[in-house]
Symmetry: C2
Subunit: 608 residues, 2 copies
Amino acid sequence: MSHLEETDTENDSEAGNSLSGDTLKILVATDIHLGYKEKDAIRGEDTFVTFEEILQQATKNEVDFILLGGDLFHESKPSPYCIQRCLELLRKYCLSDKPVSIEFLSDQSRNFLSQRVPIVNYEDPNLNIGIPVFSIHGNHDDPTGHKQTSVLDVLASTGLINYFGLWNDLSNVEIRPILLQKGKTKLALYGLSHIKDERLGRLFREKKVHLKKPDGNDWFNMLVLHQNRAARGVKNFIPDSAIPDFMDLVIWGHEHDCKIVPEVTENRVQISQPGSSVATSLASGESLSKNIGLLKVCKQEFVMIPLPLKTVRPFLIDELILENPLSNSYHSEKPSEQAVNQVKEKISQMIEEAKSKYTGPNQAPLPLLRLKVFYYSEQQQFNAVRIGMHFGGRVANPDDIIKLNSFTAKERKKNCNLNLDEDDYEKFVNISEWATSVEDVVMKYFEKDDNRKAMSVLSVKGLTEAVSRFVKHQDDDAFGRIIDKQLKDTVKQLVAMDPEVDKIEEALESIRMQRDQESSNSVQEQDIKMEEVISVSDDERGNNVTEYLLSSDDEVSPISTNTKKAAAKPNARGGRQARGSRGRGGGSTRGKRGKNDSSYGTLDSFCK
Amino acid sequence: MSHLEETDTENDSEAGNSLSGDTLKILVATDIHLGYKEKDAIRGEDTFVTFEEILQQATKNEVDFILLGGDLFHESKPSPYCIQRCLELLRKYCLSDKPVSIEFLSDQSRNFLSQRVPIVNYEDPNLNIGIPVFSIHGNHDDPTGHKQTSVLDVLASTGLINYFGLWNDLSNVEIRPILLQKGKTKLALYGLSHIKDERLGRLFREKKVHLKKPDGNDWFNMLVLHQNRAARGVKNFIPDSAIPDFMDLVIWGHEHDCKIVPEVTENRVQISQPGSSVATSLASGESLSKNIGLLKVCKQEFVMIPLPLKTVRPFLIDELILENPLSNSYHSEKPSEQAVNQVKEKISQMIEEAKSKYTGPNQAPLPLLRLKVFYYSEQQQFNAVRIGMHFGGRVANPDDIIKLNSFTAKERKKNCNLNLDEDDYEKFVNISEWATSVEDVVMKYFEKDDNRKAMSVLSVKGLTEAVSRFVKHQDDDAFGRIIDKQLKDTVKQLVAMDPEVDKIEEALESIRMQRDQESSNSVQEQDIKMEEVISVSDDERGNNVTEYLLSSDDEVSPISTNTKKAAAKPNARGGRQARGSRGRGGGSTRGKRGKNDSSYGTLDSFCK
């Protein structure tokens, strides 16, 4: 018989009491982004309000602890106001007389690496901790400054949170889990704070990520990490398949779309992606309903109950394709005026629609709206900001409701090689995302047969390098240096080959082939060559060349050797669901793993 | 019989126990400047080490609380590392099982204005406070950002300090003291966090600073503030005479020279100036021994025992006047080489001398040195940085040991009108100090009879305004605009007066006289005129003209109406001492005030 019952969320506090003393109750949330838009007159308090709701949910559900998956803060050096607000809230909700009934079994000095006094907060006799918080850092609140200190260190030094998952040796990652016990339930909590995706991806592929399993088979193994999960570039994400298959559950931070009900991967790992609690971009993934999770673990079973966040501002996204003025049915003589009228009407409808998303008096009433307007002719254009301002007082973001695009651009996007959907495309053209994906674009272009032979001297690798340097570092000399270097190399090889005049093209082709071969066989050698070329200007600029090369020029294909093409676990319900439903407990998922289920890989098989 | 005995500092912990339960023991410190030079490889930890020593002294002496006089932090937005270090230390020393035996009597919501939950930390049942810390903010850690938050708010929101003395209405200051009681001792602690000196000075003069005395005559009244005390400019400081004479003791922060043994002012107020615990400039005042104070208050008597800080890096300052190459006794043919040899010898001597300041293993051994070298001829100049580097590994500041000056500059400084000593002169030429004193220079110049008539059109006020704007805002148009305006005004008045041709000079003189008259009688009117002239460009620049005019153009003479030419109080020992001696308790001071001593002014007489 199962130790866990799916319980009514609303009455969960009672249900919690009826569960045995063996059930760990964990509130799971991620990407809270405190301080996002804090100077905005309308949205300034949004992140703090929702953080308070999260803490209230933790209190109401009498959880044993709160687990945060990174990006608690939006900035690595938040304003004093932002830190103050966070501390106030933590102090208000996490200190109390409520007893903490989880035993800490592992070596705290290994778990809390960044703290001078590495002690879990609830063991400090001077603090009355009611709800411990455990958090890894994300890419927004990572260590910064000359002493590489995270704002989470600031919180941890007060004893209001426990900051774990920090790892500094980037040539070899070793994760020693926090070991917790409540009754008969033993939790091994593996934390991996954010590491640059390209680098972590490489470390996974090179089997340099070691998860140190505790002795015994009776542990519930849970990993929390904060990385790109969506494939935004060839190497710029961690594929689900990289997760060791002994893991019972993964809490995946960083991705803002709420997919909190665990999905089962090909190698039968369950991944819960709670998503952000605030929309930091006006993309469709952010318009999904926002949830946090109430995770219950009993022995080796778990259930994840989505808890819809009620304070989150409604966010609607829609599009409007204006009528083509060249079509027969088009009658207006003032295309711009007609467009404005259509847009205003559409926005008014959206405002009405937003009202249906009203959850109650704790929710900020003004909605976020994003309307993508596609026009055919320039005559149809209008001042988008002015129209937005027309809705001031009725919308939370009057200055950026409308996004104007030509219809041809829309079509072009659809035909884009990268198979990006509308939103991904938007992210893609955003400079920060673009910068890490530029190599892929070049690469994909030259993968096409028609384009393969377009370059006879410069290699694809050299070109991607140069383009990337131009985009990331505004280094417009990189083209010149790389072409110069490769031209000299080519001439040298040609001279050595000494071909007949009419065989020169052929010789060039063979040199190119050879170089492509090297490029895939001996990445490192190629790196060193490239480094020589680039280092001149990097020294001048003080950039870290090695870092750069390591993180972006690897052409080894993503790990796939250890993935299992197994079906979803039979006893895992709700897997593969796109996202948690909002129903009362209806969207929850249960998982179970038998102690002696030999079909699951061990750490050794993955990353010895 | 006195309630207080001067006790041996070393054994004070025992002595403390023997004192009655009526004695409040307070550790007093100010200007700790956490984070100063935190990136310096040698000095980076200095401020944290000394802060820890201060906290250790508080623990050792079993004080009832710690009182900080501002500038706990060097920057208003300290690095995460700096905040973390501070919190760690506070947590380590201020949390404990030690009972707190002071009763809090006043309205906490009025005392802790900036806190959303205004509660003194030791009354929070969730925190085990052993030593409460009370702090005002200084000019370095004042509120900042769009929500005007001080880093002290960050600390206060954790419950590790109590941040008080904040006042936001700058047209009228009202200080409601924190009222504390221990046994029969009742302390009224008036906190005034830093306010711009010019503004506060004006408010004092206009009797708009209201200190709200509690009912009853049995209070020990103590004020803590953080302002310029030294007269760095005519209006840019708070004169001792501004302090209400009912005050029993003043703790004066901001000034870095340690004058912790209370000095008695003309109106018989005792002022203790603890000084900074770290040298943030290489001026002679910073080379005085650094102390914090152990203040004992019993009923209305007090004793201030200086506690020398032992971790502070030795700092020596000296000067070397090179021989004049034109003098008969000069023999060297290589003046520069001779200079270098002399300088090296002198620095070596200073390094030896520094060893005598060694206090023990907790002190950082490398000294700070400052050698001012004066030369007569340019042939004597040398590369000061290179010589400094010669002492790398033996000195904490090899890159700025030497300050080269021409002897004529030294002489010029001596003859300077402003009667500044060497250090003040240095501060004076520092841009930030200079900027607030520039008006005085101009003013003093034109106070001389010879210079008074030098200008016939431009007023002294106009000129100071223009010079000041040039220095502060790099506004080089200010001269043109002001001359233009005053020229037009003068012509207009001349035309109206319609003088004979040979009387024009006379008429000009009368216009000038009249303007000077207006300038002292009707400052406000003059302000408005000036504002009109300047506002054009200020609007463009986004500067706050009103603020600027309010803070620098007041020609009302410093307050003196309420000062008493009384002698030092007969029962106050050690008053007027330049600084506390390092001896065992030898430098302490006792003060006493009888309940019915009618010779002391009340608040009402000062600032009703």
